[in-house]
Each structure stands twice: as C-alpha cells, then as structure tokens.
Amino acid sequence: MTRAISPSRRRLQSRYPQQSHPWARKHPSRVQRQLWVSRFKRASQGFAMFVILLLMLTVLTTTVSLNTRTTAGMFITSWQGKLRLARDAAENGLVISVSELNKPSNRRLLGSVPLDKWRTNDYNVDTDGNNVTVRAGNVIYPNPCRYLPNWDVYQITQEALNMSSINPPVKTVYDSDYGQYYRVLGIKLTKADRSAVSRSTEIAAQNAVSYLTMTVEGIYSLGTAPTTANPNPPNSVHYTVQQEYQLVPRCCRQIAYPVDTGSTANACDAVGLGGAYKPEWIARSTSQAGLFKTNQ
C-alpha cells in the first residue's frame, strides 16, 4: 500500500536524501521553519566585519583605478615632453645640417659632384684650373672667392660628405647636448619640374632652381647614448623631420641670385664673371616641410 507524502517532505527528502532523523520525518514543516530561523541568525553574525571588508574592497578598487588613470596621464605627459625634445633635436639637426651644406667649403658639392660620388674619394672638381679630389680637408672653393683669413673654413667637411648615400649608407649620430641627438637619414635632389636628379650621374642645375630634400631624425635619450652603430638604445624617443629647400645657384662671392631676376644663364655668366669664379649653390628657403614617423 502506497502512503502519500506531503510536498514539503518530498522537497526535504530530495534535498537531504541521506538524512532521516525520525523527528524530522515526523515534523517536516517545523524543520523547515527552524532551518530559516537558523539561516537568518547565521547571516547576521559578523556583519560589521563583512561590510567593512566589502567597503575596503570597493574603496581599494576605486583607488587603484584612480591611481592608474593618474599614472597613465603622467606617463603620457612625460612621453609628450620627450617627443617634443626629440622633435627639437630633429629641427636643430635640420638647421645644422643644411647650414653645413651652406658653408663655403661645401657650397659647390651639390652642383659639382653627383651624390653617389661624394664619398668615393676619386671624383675630381675643377677649381682654379686645377682638378681637386673631393674628400674631407681638400678645398674646391675658388681662390678669388675666399675672403676669410682662416684656411680651414674652406675645407670640405666630413659632416657634409656623410650626408650623401653610399652602400651601406652612413648615418652618423651627432650629440647636441641635453640628451638630444640627431642623424641625417638622407638627402635627395629634384629638378625645377620636380623630376629626379640621378644620384650617380647628375648634379644641381647652374642656371635654375633645384630642390634639396633632407630627412633628419631627432633622438632623445637620457639613458644610453645612441651611436652610429646603435641609434636605437632602450627608452629612446625618435622623431623624423623632412624638409625641402630651394637650392639656388649664384656666382661665388656675390650676394645676388640671378635666377631671382629671371636669368637662365649660368650663375657666373649672368653677372659677367667667369674664369676662376665658379657657381655655388645655397639651400636658401624652405619649400615644404613634413613631420612624420615616431617610433620607440
């Protein structure tokens, strides 16, 4: 004969199948009530510490988030400052490098020597009727055009020669103090119509404006100093600047640029000078500027 089981008792049995105290089997509803009372009592025990632990956890989470945000902000500010210093280094590098080519000693290079021949030590330039080999320390600036007493300011500089490509290219890193460094990544020439000037066979025009594009990388590194062999030390910040200059010919020791007045003659012929007087090329004004590429 099957005996009916109440729903509360069935629930209890299904929850605790192995437990079978006789009193519990007899009074399932009282057991249920006692269970609830017991749970409530237990839940309220140690309430203060539990709430405080929760509160501490919440405050800790908030604090950690706040500090992470603040630290990230400071890191970004610091990064921006370093980037600005790297950019300053690049801009300084541009000024120094372009003025290196504007020195009397190097003014004739761009219009007399193809870029790929700057460092071969076997290319000759006609100077005062003599052929002079292009290399650091030699003088290709014509004698009648020299006015400064110091002979050394007319000697070709290695810094200028290093700008031109060779295989592999030399990208010398220079220190400009305050943790700032720069290196010339490359120079190139284009004609007045922006077509390329061949690096191995052509030179800048003697009777028209050409364009010189110079790319310089600024480096900011307070730790390990970058070197030509290792320009990317850890934690260094890099900023690359590219600028295009008008490259304008004129006759040496003159202040006027014949192309400004529409002349299409050779720079020295245009001012009635010839013989020992030779054209020189000045990177005179900025045509275009580009700021790009940061890394590290």
């Binding site: 192995q18 006789p22 500090n67 921006q80 000693s105 110091n150 202040i255």
Partner: protein, 204 residues
C-alpha cells in the same frame, strides 16, 4: 574573533559542522580593529592622492615652461625672418624698409647699389665667432638681447646667444631658459637651439 561554532543539525544526522561566522552580536575588538584598519587605509589613500596631485601639478608646470620656451623660439625665428639690411646696419622694423616687402630678400640684395655693397662688406668682416662683432647680424643679436630676452613678449624666457658658432654662415648658437617655482622647489628648464637668420643666406 571568528571562532567556529559547532551546532547540532536539525536535520538529524547529528554531525557537527564548523561555522565561519561569529556568535551573534559584535565583540568590542571587531569594530575597533575594523576602525583602525579603515583609518590607516584612508590615510594611505589620501596621501597617495595628494602626492599624485602634486606630481600632476609639477608635470603641468614643466610642460607650461616648455611651451613658453617654444613660444620664445617662434618669436625669435619670426624676428630673424623680419631682420633685413634695408637700412645700413640692418633692422627688424619693416617700417624702415619703405615699400619693400620685409620677407623678400631679392628686393633688397639683388640691386647693385651702395646699400647692398655695404651689406656685402658687413658680411665679409671676420666676426671671430663673436656675435656682437658680426656686422651683418649684430643688430639682430642686440634686438634679441635687449628687446626679447626675459620680456613679456616671450613669457619672460631668458634668451642667451652663446656664440656665433659658425662665422662663415652667421649661425647663432642660443640657449633658452625658463625658471619656475614648483612644489618641489625651483627648477630651470634649458633648451639649446641654432638659429640661421635668413639674411645670412644672402651673404657671400
């Protein structure tokens, strides 16, 4: 504090199970310890927050000083661009150049007149790398020293021409300095820049 309580189960198996909660009610020790913990905790947070805020303020002050230096650099570059030999000795005042455009060097130096000859003579004088001995650009140097350095136009940035580091191209080596008072004391920011006045590109 959290002593385990053993109790008899109503469910009848008579086994004893540990309880991770304390007896009903608070002991004196519990809220006192919790209070101390909270006090230490909040003190640390306040301290950390304060030091962070100080660091942020410091970074902002340094950043502002850096921006001031760059403003000064821009002002100096602009001044150098305006400097021309449209009167003997050179000037940064475009009004003294008459109708000629201040940025158009060709209008000044392509004329074969006394002014351009004087300019050429000034350029060819050996300055021996001393800025105030360079006839072609010394008025620019004096203007920067007397009218810009530590003046409001450049947010009081100190501008010093260290030397004419390359006399044959009349290039200035300059130092820009800004001193600020921060929560961590007085700091001086220094930046070095090279300046090639456009007028120098017309010198032989």
């Amino acid at each position: 504090m959290l002593s385990p309580m053993r109790q008899q189960s109503f469910l009848g198996n008579r086994t004893f199970r540990p309880n991770s909660f304390a007896n009903p009610g608070f002991s004196l020790l519990e809220p006192v310890l919790a209070g101390v913990l909270m006090a230490v905790f909040f003190a640390q947070i306040v301290s950390l927050f304060n030091s962070n805020m100080k660091a942020v303020a410091f970074a902002n002050q340094i950043d502002q000083a850096d921006r001031d230096i760059h403003l000064a650099l821009d002002v100096v570059r602009e001044t150098a661009a305006k400097y021309n030999w449209c009167q003997n000795g050179g000037t940064v005042d475009p009004l003294k150049c008459g109708s000629k455009r201040p940025y158009d060097g060709a209008s000044f130096y392509n004329n074969n007149n006394n002014l351009s000859q004087n300019f050429k003579t000034a350029c060819e004088k050996d300055s021996e790398t001393i800025a105030d001995r360079d006839d072609a650009t010394k008025n620019l140097y004096f203007y920067i020293r007397d009218n810009l350095s530590e003046k409001s136009a450049v947010n009081n940035v100190k501008i010093v021409v260290l030397q004419m580091d390359s006399k044959e191209i009349h290039r200035f080596k300059m130092k820009f300095e800004k001193t600020i008072t921060t929560t961590y004391g007085t700091r001086t920011l220094s930046r070095g820049f090279y300046l090639l006045p456009p007028v120098a590109l017309w010198c032989p």
